[in-house]
């Protein structure tokens, strides 16, 4: 491949690495990458897309539930539990961490804490989405990337 492509590949690799280093993604993402093969060349992107599409409903429901007075903590907890489970599927590390915080506040029946943390959840969720979108786009432009390798 020419120098340009090599550069692109390196860039993509760096982006990918930083996603791990900054803890946006965890081991699960690598699992997905390892599942990608010739029969499913875009597996990872498909999964991520599916995740973002499906999980939107949780955020919507959580938003709704947080508007109610008084707050139904067990319902909030249940919704967040499901959302967390879903987030774990793509290895959304930071998102998961915020989910855990949220659930802690739920258990403590701390309404303010819940609302605040929920904002964090949404922020991480959206940030990750953008980063991944950029990452996939670049990958597609560059062509097949090297085999997944664990971040050092």
């Amino acid at each position: 491949m020419d120098r340009n492509q090599m550069q692109m590949h390196r860039q993509i690799a760096n982006i990918r690495k930083s996603l791990f280093d900054q803890e946006y993604l965890d081991e699960q993402f690598i699992q997905l990458e390892e599942l990608q093969d010739n029969s499913n060349p875009n597996f990872v992107e498909e999964v991520v897309t599916l995740f973002y599409r499906d999980s939107a409903r949780f955020l919507y429901n959580l938003d709704q539930a947080l508007e109610k007075r008084p707050l139904d903590f067990s319902k909030l907890d249940s919704l967040m539990h499901q959302f967390k489970g879903s987030s774990s599927s793509i290895g959304a590390k930071k998102v998961k961490i915020e989910c855990t915080h949220f659930r802690d506040y739920c258990n403590a029946r701390n309404a303010e804490g819940c609302k605040r943390t929920f904002q964090h959840v949404k922020k991480e969720y959206t940030t990750l989405k953008k980063k991944l979108e950029a990452y996939f786009q670049m990958s597609r432009q560059t062509g097949p990337v090297e085999r997944a390798c664990r971040p050092r």
């Binding site: 599942l35 093969d37 999964v47 539990h81 489970g85 879903s86 599927s89």
Partner: protein, 569 residues
């Protein structure tokens, strides 16, 4: 995949575990996609499902179409645990639970409900690679238990065997009842013809779970026809259970006859003492078989008598009425089988276990223990079963509560303990038959189910290997801790346990404690779910409908029979 007669694929035994047929149930589409891909990478044959009900339909539709089920705990239409129980009861398949929640209580519930493993999300590929062990383990157990000819064949045949169950030809091979040798032979041959070893998918008989309800129908039919004139066809017609086959009934009838014969013999032998036998000392498994058999016989008789109420009386009277024909052969052949079943339950834990460990073949002989609870101690099962009230006191006593020095066993106490006990029991794998010795009722700290623990073991489906301490006696202390939890349970437990205890004749066949759906009606037990584990949803237990059925997750063994003369296999 090789296509079977019905067009469903069968596992390729020659390359096991490749081709393992997995059903994945998860409402999260992302996870469903990932799991599907992971399982395919393991060379498994994957079917996905987003709804529990859909999964059950699929399983029912393709009775032998799957080897193992993996399900998420949180499903929108049905609680994962409930699904788990249904699958265990109806299809007798190993079920793996998944969840992002790894709380001990949740995991424990999974085990209680019969899960053979509990995976935490995110799930790694390597965890999925090994799920075939659960399928294999189950097969091995079945083989060991049934001692059918098929099971003694090569491993491949075992793996291909869909129904290594009590439906095996054992019943046909044994002399008993009024079956003429000629007829027997014919049936046996016919049965073998059906079992086409080469074509593993040909035998699609699902394991029939003889629930209390079903058995009652059976008994009613038998009594209506008249025991002398009874025949499988007539019974089947009278019972009017569409999915039941003549073969099912014939096999069940065989066992029933043997049971009655045994009861009759016992009846003549001993006088009712109404004793509780909480402390069956561990038998020396090393003793010779005959001795064991005798012991079992005695025990069986005793235990049979012990719960004076109810059920036994009915059975007794019935026995007297019945004029059993030549069962001479029973003596020689049956005893082990019969006794095994009998011994298995309740206090006879030790003896029963011994029986079991001797692998008397079909464990299908129901133990006519009156003290069923032990078996049902399968946590939830307990609560669901609607036993007659009277049972409780007896049960309590029998369960060796006395041993605990708790003379005034309150039902609540008992209740509390039971679930725990069952949990503990659940932890014991069936493999621990050897434990029979240690299991005397006294040992179990809970008292009530000590016996059950022994009995339970077989019934539990192969629990997570990590749960199986090799030394039986060693396990007993464990339940203690768990039992303490139960003490905190609320009254609902109490109620449920009572209900459970009341279950007079229930016979669980199959491996899981859970309400069986074989019987179309699902009676929701009145008991509330015991909240001995924090998050038990209130409707969970309702779904369990233990009514009378309590199944032991053991693949083999006998199913407890509550004395009422109900014989459920």
């Amino acid at each position: 995949m090789t296509e079977g007669i019905n067009g469903f694929s069968s596992p390729r035994a020659d390359v096991f575990p490749a081709g393992l047929r997995v059903l994945v149930v998860d409402d999260d589409p992302t996870w469903l996609k990932i799991l599907e891909k992971m399982l395919k990478k393991c060379s498994y044959e994957v079917t996905t499902c987003a709804l529990a009900i859909e999964a059950l339909d699929l399983l029912r539709e393709r009775k032998d179409g799957f080897d193992i089920v993996i399900s998420d705990v949180n499903m929108p239409d049905m609680d994962g645990f409930k699904l788990l129980e249904h699958v265990g009861l109806e299809m007798d398949l190993p079920v793996i639970m998944m969840s992002v929640d790894g709380e001990t209580s949740r995991v424990m519930r999974g085990v209680q409900h019969g899960a053979c493993d509990y995976l935490l999300k995110p799930i790694r590929m390597k965890e999925l690679r090994n799920i075939w062990q659960h399928v294999y383990r189950k097969k091995i157990h079945e083989v060991r238990d049934t001692e059918s000819h098929e099971s003694l064949e090569s491993l491949e045949e075992i793996l291909m065997m869909r129904n290594v169950s009590e439906q095996s030809d054992d019943g046909y091979l044994l002399c008993g009842g009024d079956m003429t040798p000629g007829k027997k032979r014919k049936d046996a041959e016919h049965k073998y013809d059906d079992k086409d070893f080469g074509d593993h998918s040909s035998v699609k008989k699902a394991r029939v779970v003889w629930t209390v309800d079903l058995h009652q129908k059976f008994v009613k039919a038998v009594n209506h026809i008249g025991f002398e004139k009874v025949g499988p066809k007539k019974i089947l017609d009278l019972m009017n259970v569409p999915w039941l086959t003549r073969e099912n009934v014939a096999s069940h009838l065989q066992k029933y006859r043997l049971y009655l014969t045994r009861l009759q013999k016992d009846d003549l032998k001993t006088s009712s003492s109404g004793i509780k036998h909480p402390d069956f000392s561990p038998r020396d498994a090393a003793g010779d078989r005959t001795d064991h058999i005798k012991m079992q016989q005695n025990e069986a008789v005793n235990s049979y008598r012990a719960p004076s109420n109810l059920l036994l009386q009915n059975a007794n009277s019935r026995i007297h009425e019945v004029d059993l024909k030549g069962t001479a052969s029973l003596q020689t052949i049956e005893p082990k089988k019969v006794l095994t079943g009998f011994a298995a339950k309740s206090h006879m834990a030790s003896s029963s276990n011994i029986g079991i460990s001797h692998s008397f073949g079909s464990t299908q002989y129901s133990t006519y223990n009156t003290v069923l609870p032990t078996q049902y101690s399968w946590s939830e099962g307990f609560t669901e079963i609607q036993f007659k009230q009277e049972r409780n006191p007896q049960f309590q006593v029998e369960n060796g509560f006395a041993d605990l020095g708790l003379p005034t066993l309150q039902q609540h106490n008992q209740v509390n303990l039971q679930p725990v006990q069952s949990i503990a029991n659940g932890l014991f794998s069936k493999e621990r038959d050897k434990q029979a010795k240690s299991s005397s009722g006294t040992k179990s700290s809970f008292g009530s189910y000590s016996v059950p623990s022994q009995n339970l073991m077989p019934s539990f489906q192969p629990p997570d290997p990590s749960f199986q301490p090799p030394d039986p006696s060693f396990q007993l202390p464990d339940p203690v801790t768990s039992s303490t939890w139960s003490l905190k349970d609320d009254h609902s437990l109490e109620q449920t346990s009572i209900n459970n205890l009341e279950l007079s004749a229930f016979w669980l066949q199959g491996q899981h404690c859970s309400s069986t759906n074989l019987d179309m009606q699902n009676k929701v037990p009145e008991c509330n779910d015991p909240e001995f584990i924090a998050e038990v949803p209130s409707n969970l237990y309702d779904a369990l409908r233990f009514d009378y059925e309590y199944e032991y997750p053991s693949d083999s063994l006998e199913y407890p029979v509550v004395g009422q003369g109900l014989f459920i296999v």
